[in-house]
Amino acid sequence: MEGQHKLFNNYLRAHCKTKLTASQRRRLRRKTLKSSKDCKSKDTEVCNGKKNHIVPNGELYLNVSPILPLNIINSSNKIVELNTKLCDTLNCSSPLTKNKIVVSNMEPSSEAGLSLKSRDDVKAAREAKKLAKQAKKKGTTEIQTKSETQKLTTQKGQDLKNPSVDEVDRAEKENKEKSLHMIKEIKSKLSDAVVHASSKDVSNVTVAENLTVNDVVNTLKDIVNVAKNVESVTAIVKAMDVQKQVKNEVKKQTINEKTPDVGEKKMESDGKSKAELKAERRAKQEAQRAAKQAQQQAKEVQQKSNVKTEQIKEPGKKEDVAKEKSPKPKLIEKKVKSQSSQKCNWFQHLHTEHDKEALRDLAINSNLHPAVIKLGVQLASHVVTGSNARCIALLDALKKMVRDYSLPAKTEFARGLEAQLAASLSFLWRMRAPSASQVNAIKHFRHQLTQLPNNVDEFDAKKKLQEEMDRYIREQIDMAGEAISIAVRNKISNGDNILTYGCSSLIERILRESHEAGVQYRAVVVGNRVSHSAREMLRRLIAAGVSCSYVDISALSFVMKSINKVLLGANALLVNGSVLGAVGTLQAALVARAHNVPVLVACETHKFSDRVQTDAFVYNEIGDPEALIDKSDENSLLKDWRSNPNLNLLNLTYDVTPASLVTAVVTELAILPCTSAPVVLRFKTSEYGM
């Protein structure tokens, strides 16, 4: 009954979506593989090449169990159906299946003690599904594995059911350990019996006739049939050591405490005289009764303990209830979402909590370096924006972190720092998703970290790392910017109108330096109403003395006729040649293409990313939707947009300009076509190992 209950739980849970960590998955796989191996060896041992023949007694037990699931699997691959079938068979309370299930149930129990989360169930179920497919190919042997994994899930489900109830858990664990022990004993015993039985093949015939694979399934419903068969077999054989019998009985009794049927089968497996059989049966019945009592008692105890813990933890109980019901509310939530997010459900995957909410649950008393926390806040509140600025700020914070890092005792420097780094980064990335420049900088940093010799002095290592970071900023950002500036300057001639979109530190530098170099040109800055970055750009250019025009993005086509070159900044250059830029970059490139104006993208190679993206939907950041509301307008109609389920404001951060719209990318290496991005990346990998 318990097994059935577990199964049922598993069945119910099989639908809730969950994650299994890689390590857990690996462990699981290893486990299942191992058990399948076990099963295989057992099978060969038992059957001696006659898989589907039921040999008397011990063999019957061993042989049936792998066959039964096979039959089920043959009828359907699906785990759910398997589950139900198993449930059905359990309902029939066949001793055979029960035996098997109990056995398999117990095997993974040591693992189930890992207190896995509810999500693991499904993963495990999937694993089982996969295995089922494999099993179909490989044959009977592996099926046991499957049922085992399945049992594993049920076990976990069981664990889950009352995660907070420690006492029960402990009791269960004990039970499992016990049963594990028992199972081992049984196995060894069985193998003995098999050896014994195989010497008397004579008796096989009758049984084999009666018990084909299908028959087994049929007879599962009827214990009596099986018993009769066994009886007849035993009557024919009539040769058995009394000692062994006794042994078996003893074993059976011990087993019966947990699993009475195992014992029963076991006992029957040895041939006996009729009188002996009678006596045996009596003893069996007694044992069964005792086992039932024990079970009941155990149940009562469990229930009591449950009640106790429930009484103790009233809120805990509520939690439990909530957890148990969790799949339902989830569904409802989804429905609600799909209704309300009629709104804009194609950006649902991007709808992470807005940055402000990230700030709210800021860990203040963490082990993070204050510079890191400061940077996190700056990133989240968009104080530090722009690819280069974010990269420099990150390296700066890391430099401070490295400087103040104190190595714990008995730790390797690189490993200790790596742990600290990982914690800091996970915090930072939670504040705002990393830009390509940041990712590359971190890659470089990590590379440097691994390059450190094992027994490096702490002081030396810190110095080395800080120097390395300084060098990165100098070479990858500063000098690269200078090289690009010179390259672009040569492309700007007197009297040109240069259009640029948004704000980019690199473009600003190019324009400023070209102006200082004496090139006479006019900069046309294009911005949009929502982000004020273009105004910032304009401010900087005016401060540098560049003659500027400003238009809104809606006037793009109005000015484009008079533009000679379009100069765009980029957040990242993707490996397929697409340019990830501030939203509106694509628009500028499109209009420029329509007017046959060359588009130059200025991008240092440290912004080259190994990601690939063909549209702006797969990866993007949702900016603050409130920015769309006109702040100067007191009674803007959009103010209460959140209360309107049909109204949604969308403020994208990036868009992706395909390589076909970009004439060339100006990097510090050369002026290249966009499609050369992978070449640059490969070059950099070989050069810097990042």
């Binding site: 009629q342 709104k343 804009c344 194609w346 800055v525 949009n528 109403r529 929502v530 982000s531 105004r535 304009l538 401010r539 005016i542 500027c548 025009s549 400003y550 238009v551 809104d552 993005i553 809606s554 006037a555 793009l556 086509s557 109005f558 000015v559 006729k561 939203v583 509106g584 694509l586 628009q587 490139a589 499109l590 209009v591 293409r593 329509a594 549209d615 702006a616 939907f617 993007n620 769309l628 509301i629 006109d630 100067s632 307008d633 803007s636 109609l637 959009l638 947009w641 309107n644 049909n646 109204l647 949604n648 404001l649 969308l650 403020n651 994208l652 990036y654 868009d655 992706v656 300009t657």
Partner: protein, 351 residues
């Protein structure tokens, strides 16, 4: 009767007063919305015809044309007013022709015959006949058409919008708003891209969303990024030019360029009164600059040293438009000339 033929007599005081009032109403913004302007123009012309001292066709044509000239001079951007003048002129000519027992050979003419038609119409204009009554009937018909044009276009909504479609529209347009509402059970999702007059877009978004249309408001910069997802671009325009080009709100060209790049069909809602028999080939025609504060507030420090442009219109070439939807149904840009020839007399293309 080409426009340069003959001297146009001066209008009387009262008519001039009416015209001035009409022009100032539009300039001060009292009169807004293309449909209202069209109706006001027609009523003004009706008034002038009623008040005319001479009832001969020649006199009436001259009076209406003089009014048209004044209006177009004062309001060069109100192409609709000029269109209405042309429509009334056409009505007068039709009446006169009917009177002279001529077949109205211009209605339903082929392009070739239009080109080859001899411009010797003047001699056939007999005087001394009170044409005002039948002309008033024509004008009443015209007013009825103006009134029904919106519903006629909206009635076609279900033919063009299928269920759960993602429609992109630009700026704000009453017609588009009604069109989307009329799509009713098909429940399109609207991606509303705000134009330079963002407050109007916001108002349109709130109105539509309160009526159950799911609206997502985005800035004009995101058009390119979002366009791959869009099923159709539905836009309202200021005016449709001969040849199928379109004058629309500033920024429209960028939107249609993106649509063209992603091969998204662009549907232009253009009632017949917006059809102008004028040609243009670039954005400087029929354009004007809005006050620059719409792009950048005067108060900002950088505005002192910057040239700021805020154009009002965008010229969209005919190849960016997939379909026009007029009162009469859908038509391709290349068919616009035909509609024009049915609406106006070629002699009135230039007022």
């Amino acid at each position: 009767m080409s426009p340069l033929e003959g001297n146009l007599q001066d209008l009387d005081e009262k008519s001039i007063e009416n015209i001035v009032k009409f022009v100032s109403d539009i300039r001060t913004g009292k009169l807004q919305g293309s449909n209202k302007i069209a109706v006001a123009t027609v009523t003004l012309l009706e008034q002038i015809i009623t008040d005319a001292s001479n009832t001969s066709a020649l006199f009436l044509v001259n009076a209406v044309r003089a009014t048209g000239r004044r209006i177009t001079k004062a309001l060069p951007h109100e192409l609709i007013a000029a269109n209405m003048v042309r429509r009334v002129l056409r009505a007068i000519r039709d009446e006169q022709r009917a009177l002279a027992n001529q077949s109205s050979e211009y209605s339903g003419d082929s392009l070739q015959r239009l080109v080859l038609a001899a411009p010797s119409r003047r001699a056939t204009l007999p005087s001394h006949h009170d044409l005002r009554e039948p002309i008033r009937d024509h004008i009443a018909e015209l007013l009825g058409e103006l009134e029904a044009s919106t519903s006629a276009i909206c009635g076609q909504a279900k033919e063009h919008i299928h269920t759960d479609e993602l429609i992109l529209t630009y700026g704000s347009s009453n017609l588009v708003e009604k069109f989307l509402k009329a799509s009713g059970t098909n429940k399109p999702k609207l991606l509303l891209v705000e134009g330079p007059q963002h407050s109007e877009s916001a108002a349109m978004a709130t109105r539509l969303s309160s009526q159950g249309v799911s609206v997502t408001l985005v800035n004009g910069a995101a058009v390119g990024a979002l366009m791959p997802r869009v099923n159709k671009v539905v836009i309202g325009v200021r005016s449709t030019l001969a040849g199928g080009a379109v004058l629309g709100e500033a920024g429209l060209l960028a939107v249609t360029t993106a649509a063209r790049h992603y091969s998204v069909p662009v549907v232009v809602l253009s009632p017949l009164y917006k059809l102008s028999p004028l040609h243009s080939c670039d954005h400087t025609h029929f354009n004007a600059l809005a006050p620059p504060y719409t792009a950048m507030p005067y108060m900002s420090g950088e505005s002192a040293l910057t040239q700021v442009y805020a154009p009002m219109c965008d010229f969209v070439p005919p190849d960016h438009v997939t379909l026009f939807i007029t009162n009469l149904g859908g038509s391709s840009p290349s068919y616009i000339y035909r509609l024009l020839s049915e609406l106006y007399d070629p002699n009135d293309y230039q007022i």
